[in-house]
């Protein structure tokens, strides 16, 4: 409780202090692991010359487009697969087969098909989110209580209406959790995706810093990626507090 009241600030400060003391005491050379002060200096430098803004915007843009594309295709597909037994028989093996393949394995193809720039990165993000979302959505539909479906039937709901009025709302809480997990993965993948031929983005920032032998810049890039990741996670968490989602927690 005391810790919670004091807030994040002292903890961050303590970690920074520890980091400084350990690197100083062990006399770790800067090129192996930089000190917090030089990382702060690198951050300031990136903030001033606009690199921080430019690269964060590029990364966020790619994640947004790739992730949205996955959401608008994977969720309807998952709902359908969850409902239609014959679709499930046909598509499930394919989805299950493609899902465990890391999107990074697609890098060679992405580069040849989409060249360099935004497109291959967006493609990789899409892949990283699409298959898990289909699987999660399918299973959340399969988990819907049969009572709901029977009631819907008794009220004479049919076709499209069943999806909109019963299935989607019932599956929504699990889908939101899935969104949170896949967005996290997407953010993990963007950095790796941007280490291939692009000229912007936070992944590029790290690779470029590494090639210029600037370890302080590399760690500064990591700090930015972590911070943005935290913010993204917080935003999706807000979705979990929506009334149309929160009912599932009350049920328990």
């Amino acid at each position: 409780m005391v810790l919670k009241k004091a807030g994040l600030f002292p903890i961050v400060l303590a970690i920074l202090l520890l980091w400084h003391l350990v690197t100083a005491a062990l006399n770790v050379p800067e090129f192996m692991f930089p000190r917090p002060l030089s990382v702060a200096g690198a951050l300031w430098e990136m903030l001033k010359n606009g690199e921080l803004y430019r690269n964060s915007v590029s990364s966020l843009f790619r994640v947004t487009v790739g992730f949205y594309l996955a959401v608008v295709t994977a969720i309807p597909m998952g709902l359908l697969i969850g409902r239609q037994r014959c679709l499930r028989t046909i598509l499930n093996p394919l989805v299950q087969f493609l899902r465990p393949i890391s999107p990074l394995a697609w890098i060679p193809m992405a580069l040849m098909w989409f060249g360099i720039g935004d497109k291959p990165a967006i493609f990789l993000i899409f892949l990283s989110s699409f298959f898990p979302l289909v699987v999660f959505t399918t299973s959340s539909v399969l988990n819907i209580r049969t009572t709901y479906l029977r009631v819907a039937e008794n009220f004479g709901l049919k076709g499209f209406k069943v999806y909109m009025k019963v299935i989607l709302p019932a599956a929504l809480p699990e889908i939101i959790t899935a969104l949170r997990i896949t967005l996290g993965t997407a953010w993990l993948v963007i950095v790796a995706a941007e280490m291939i031929a692009v000229k912007s983005g936070l992944g590029y920032l790290i690779i470029d810093a590494r090639n210029s032998l600037r370890m302080d810049m590399v760690v500064a890039g990591m700090v930015v990626i972590g911070t943005v990741g935290l913010i993204l996670d917080y935003m999706v968490r807000l979705l979990e507090r929506m009334p149309s989602v929160e009912w599932s927690r009350m049920r328990r």
């Binding site: 090129f31 192996m32 430019r54 915007v57 590029s58 966020l60 843009f61 947004t64 487009v65 949205y68 060679p108 580069l111 040849m112 098909w113 060249g115 360099i116 720039g117 935004d118 280490m195 291939i196 031929a197 000229k199 912007s200 690779i207 470029d208 590494r210 090639n211 210029s212 032998l213 979705l239 929506m242």
Partner: protein, 310 residues
Amino acid sequence: MLAVAGAIFWLVVISLLRFTLPGASHHETRLKVGFLPITCHLLLPVAMERDEFFRKHVLPVKYTSWPDMIESVKGGELDAALILAPIAISMMDQGVPVKIALLGHRNGTGLVVSSKRPINQVKEFEGKTVAIPIRYSTQNIALLSLLEKEHVDMQRVTRVELPPPDMPSALASGAIDAYIVGEPYATQARLMGVGTIFQKISSIWPGFISSILIVRKDALKKNPTQMDSFIKGLYLQGQWIEKNRRLAADMGARFFGLSKRLIETVLMEKEVSYRNILPKKEEFQAIGKKMVRYGLLTKVPDIEVYLKWY
């Protein structure tokens, strides 16, 4: 509903921000040329700085690893690239439509060993781990030739592929015992105090070729005069670098984002040479033959075809 509206709002905002960034891409008519930050590719930054034509018509695209560049050449994303000679030869073998235009530079590759755990003769490489840039490199071929000449059991030398910028720190940490690489990454270990040069490859392979300039046939067909000025422009910079090494080092360091001291050290030692960079059939055939010998190729493609221009 609110969540959906919020999500759409975010998409609009981030797209607007993205497309107002300077350098957001529009239709590209410039020649796209791939390069890596190594002295073997110094012709390009010098040309970008000194030649009006290059500033108007050439778009350099920086890569950090060879495989990424290979895929961009294969996919047609790049019109030209500075790329390792064995990669180019194996592309020809695979039917990728490319032609050989120029060499990047000559010499400028070193075999580096750790200063803490020194290796004094070739025989001692047995049981050691040596980093190479990629197996399709003249560096790998040079290493294998050296081991073979001194009758070292090649099976007992572990070769690992590492991106050149990682090699000095891998050597410092003891992950590898030695590495063979193009400049400036050999000199870098020396300046960092973690490695010493065991052998300059120019002493066993005079006029050593690392990277070459290749151009895609379709780009050549589309605009032959542009390509012609491009190649000639690069060639002429070689002559200028020879007379203005310090200035060239400065341009390269800025363009590559590497330390000026490092590039200057490499260039002022005058081992690397930007003279005599027209490709010769015999040299490529010799590289091809060695590739076959070390299992990197099944047969040497007819080099003549790739050197003929129109």
